[in-house]
Symmetry: D2
Subunit: 368 residues, 4 copies
């Protein structure tokens, strides 16, 4: 079950980076959702590699074939199956990589776990798998918007030491970094060019938010909305940390500062990130995610081979100098999938609970 | 299923803060583990409230009754059921709290989700529930130690703005803060006394580590060891962030710095926190957790009542000025439970895979 | 997870026949259901042993303590925990039974699986566990009746070679056999007296039906309503077969006979047992269950001891000459639990699907 | 999750009868199993339609494409994905069938559940889906044989009123009915020809057995081996009943007859069907399954259309007069998948339990 995700809206992905195809099965999808192959284009395009000089130069079509679960343009309630053929998977020469463990990669751990691994392009551990997360989330985003008015969006909130000087949602889609401040983009371009030239890589931080989530989504104790968001984000390749709302900053906060006072006008702040006791409060749900710098560098590093010998490892080929750059649509996808799953679970258990009390206006003016 | 945790070693907890009892059922436990009521005393004592003046003055016996799954002192493979009666649950007067939503608490979200809630002491959303996590983990720790030589421990790594000036594991259990540097303890005592006097609270950061984890535990993609650790930690009350290894610091790192070079002597560093591609590498598994400051303060704050009226809320009663102080054993418990669950899953799928390659020595000299 | 049952309404049971207590945790229960300790009395009484001379003479109070999940008499949405203390568990002398494997019992298989077992009264493999199924189903029955007008009932449909000569629901609760034909009861009493005197036992067949199930409950392929009913019934102690509707009789039927023609007046017959393609059709759901004769007899049989020696085994003590007699409430319980779980799942996925077509009247005049 | 099956070896199937393809994802598969596209040919051929004049004349290639999880001919531990394109799906004219509900089919129930359905060839409710069960089980059978010496086989044990006059495993694969008595085959051919000519259909009973299962597989209470077999079999299209061992015949048995005495030479009989207390005993595991007669007949029947009008329904096209004929490989597949899943679960929990006692020889001479 380690390749499945979600409890009621359950996504199972399959396929390797350099195998014939990748795909997914989306089980538990409500019937009647309009879906067509072209619906996947926008988000797969935003995630795709090869879009700019700042990302890997692998060029994949990412054309989605719908294999089941859709009839006459609408979901039927049976599993939606999606397939994407790999077309630019060059793996002529993987003999050496098959014998060596690259530091910072899954090579060594897969080998010790399974005793047999597909070394071509990282096999199953490649970020190529995230294509199917984004594809599955296209359906979730559609359902969330149509049935609940919930929207999901995100932006880069740090690259290396650089943080945004301002916040403008309109800027985000206008630059290859999903950066929320247009004036900084030229400087970022130079920064990335220099980095690429140096042969090194850098980490990044992504922030994703959901607007319009009603109070009541999420489940106590072990099915908490924040717990499942943490798992969802941490399951993305290269992620090393997850925060909800104020996150680690809350360690240095006082309680009188952190708790978000409530009035008839709404919440006075959103340090909670829209989640209290594991359940959505009606405020913006805010999640931040730390991506490590990729370890695939042409700068040499000491590693080992399968026989335990020390070897100097140099990674050539097509790699992102900052994997976080393309991660925004992936984090959005995971947020959307978790929310839809929780929405269905909430309807299952609490479908009889009506409006019990006036709601605090959740729309906060607070940017994440 | 939101009150169950783990896939093969499955812990289900139940009970409310001021109900008659709390308890848990541990399903999937291997047979033959020696277990007695007194085995729970040490860790429940470490977690217990009322231990020092710095924590809540609720005094619970936390005496564990074994209701099933153990015969002649050893587990039988059938579910281990544990019960702890609540003895110091004072809830004479909850009429007012039943009508009001405390900011920063689950009151408002439970109410909108369920339309009916147990307001006494936070009901199910109280940290009292974590007693059973610690109890269940006593069995996991025993099994991990006996069958794999794996040990789990932890310490506080930040309170408010204060960080340790040094690191000494031997100091941790000798002070009420699980603080790893004895010389700082008097200053911390003063800090906490002043905080308590002020009526305010503060956040904390806990770091837990597992030693001796072999390479190969964990599962790719959605069952990743780090993803499940993130969910486990985020499911603890008051947690707002989780990091593996370098965590958010990796955002500002270069790839040449972050990746942990490998040699025959071992890994040169442990920025990965012992996990690569979702699978343990044989290094120390290192997890850090951010706890927010408690919102239950005697300092007044604006809140709402169930009719939507604004009310000034003052929380009296027994509360921790820093909930993170008692959180170390809870984080350790979640780490142990996740590890044992993954160990069983690994044995299920890969029980036929023998030693395939020389292992890099995992024992790093690096403190977390 | 082998001690949990259901996907959204999830029941976990624990405890052994001669341990201190048995209990259950019901997770996923909708909030707002009125529940009190006395609500469990009727069904636990129907299931209880010691009620007549035809069943085991163990006398248990079966007094239910609610440990959590209920506040001011109504469920809160958090896990409902129920506890029943064992009060009549005599197990002074189990030394011999601990060393021997009784044919037809779980002794041998538990021993080879776990290497350590609780031999007192069958331990976890005792039908005592079914007490908690019946208890949990009290809540399910209440919810099904109140929210959907669904009722569940059952009767014995065969003992040994004896089948009912007529069918009258009103007769069922008026005799200790749940037999649907009052005139046969005296003969059955004599039959059972003779059987008990002979020291032997006999099998039985139970039929349970649900009225009022709307079309649409159940899920295709692997979550079929009939598949889950089959598992639920087969999980009851001593069950060797399960049928839906015509069951094994359909093997000898022609298609023109088996298929249930539909008209505006309803279905012409109910060979399907109310389920088509794994989904309820709106007809009565009809399930029949085969119980084997108990193997615990005072008539000697050849068995083995733990060292592999042949031993003659004679079982004295309190045993039912026909375990199926008390099974009707247990089968009803499993039917109710499966239906409620499927109802919640249906609401989760298809809560947006309204009335799409006129419904065929489901009320068939056909007795099961 | 209703399209997934198994707990640790988890099979998810997708696709519709007349959609572009059907497929499956097998998660949790141990690494190192040798697998090639041609390994699927034998069992898919045994299941295939169009093999004889007694089965549907749809001719599918059933060529399996491996999309992931296999590298250099061996499984890697990542999900094995299999795809079969539909090539003989004629659905030019489904307008009428889209508007009508065929009695005895899932048309009516899918419509009321989902409000939108794929009517072409039954869509997802078609037995075409079982192709992927058989494909997935090819891997399970291989693993069971290689790692545990467990083999799975089956035969038809009744067609209509006809039962075998003798039992010879060698006869089974030599005739199109999987019939265990060669001398009866000509008569069966005539019987089926007459049935086909009459336009009617008939039910069947299939018996499958597993040899070599060690004692200890299965889990108590809700994860019982027999409970999971019951669900697995009942999830197959057209199944109405499941029996373990003596099944419904045990209702009329005495306890002294049913219980299988044990000696050093083995069990005296196998009424239990190889399962005691939900756990394998080391005897042959024996399961019988009732298949109803297909409802798709050219003989007219009264049905309804989507507007609630009564319509006379005549089904032309390609249909099996006895769907049970092709069901033997499907039942075998489900038996193999359940066994492998339980074997992995047993290893997970009880991998430390060694040989605790002498085993009774399990090889019984009893034919099912």
């Amino acid at each position: 079950m380690s390749n499945s995700f979600g409890r009621l809206l359950r996504v199972t992905t399959f396929g390797e980076s350099h195998g014939p195809a990748i795909g997914c099965v989306i089980d538990g999808c409500p019937p009647g959702i309009a879906i067509a192959p072209e619906d996947f284009e926008r988000d797969l395009g935003r995630r795709a590699s090869g879009r700019t000089r700042h990302t890997s130069q692998r060029h994949e079509d990412d054309r989605v074939e719908i294999l089941g679960g859709v009839f006459e343009g609408r979901t039927t309630g049976t599993p939606v199956a999606l397939l994407v053929r790999n077309t630019d998977a060059r793996s002529k020469d993987y003999a050496r990589i098959a014998e060596q463990f690259r530091p910072g990669h899954a090579d060594y751990t897969y080998w010790h776990k399974y005793g047999h691994r597909d070394p071509r392009g990282g096999g199953r551990s490649s970020a190529r798998e995230t294509t199917m997360r984004v594809a599955a989330a296209v359906i979730a985003r559609k359902w969330l918007a149509e049935h609940h008015g919930v929207t999901v969006r995100g932006h880069l909130s740090q690259i290396g030491e650089v943080v945004p000087d301002g916040h403008d949602w309109d800027a985000v889609e206008g630059n290859p970094f999903f950066w929320p401040h247009a004036a900084q983009v030229p400087a970022l371009e130079s920064y990335m060019d220099a980095l690429r030239k140096s042969g090194d890589s850098v980490g990044a931080r992504v922030t994703v938010v959901a607007d319009g989530v009603p109070p009541g989504w999420g489940e106590p104790v072990y099915g908490k909305l924040d717990a499942e968001l943490a798992a969802a984000m941490m399951s993305i390749n290269a992620v090393k940390g997850v925060e909800i709302g104020a996150g680690f900053a809350s360690v240095a906060q006082k309680g009188s500062e952190h708790r978000d006072a409530m009035s008839r006008q709404g919440f006075a702040s959103n340090h909670a990130g829209g989640i209290l006791g594991g359940i959505s409060s009606g405020q913006q749900v805010v999640v931040s995610v730390a991506f490590k710098p990729t370890s695939s560098l042409r700068l040499p590093v000491m590693g080992l081979d399968v026989d335990g010998n020390e070897v100097e490892i140099v990674t050539t080929g097509r790699h992102d100098p900052c994997v976080g750059i393309r991660a925004t649509p992936i984090c959005e996808a995971m947020l959307a999938l978790v929310l839809m799953d929780q929405a269905l679970r909430h309807r299952a258990q609490c479908g009889d609970v009506g409006e019990v009390s006036p709601r605090v206006p959740g729309e906060s003016k607070h940017s994440p």
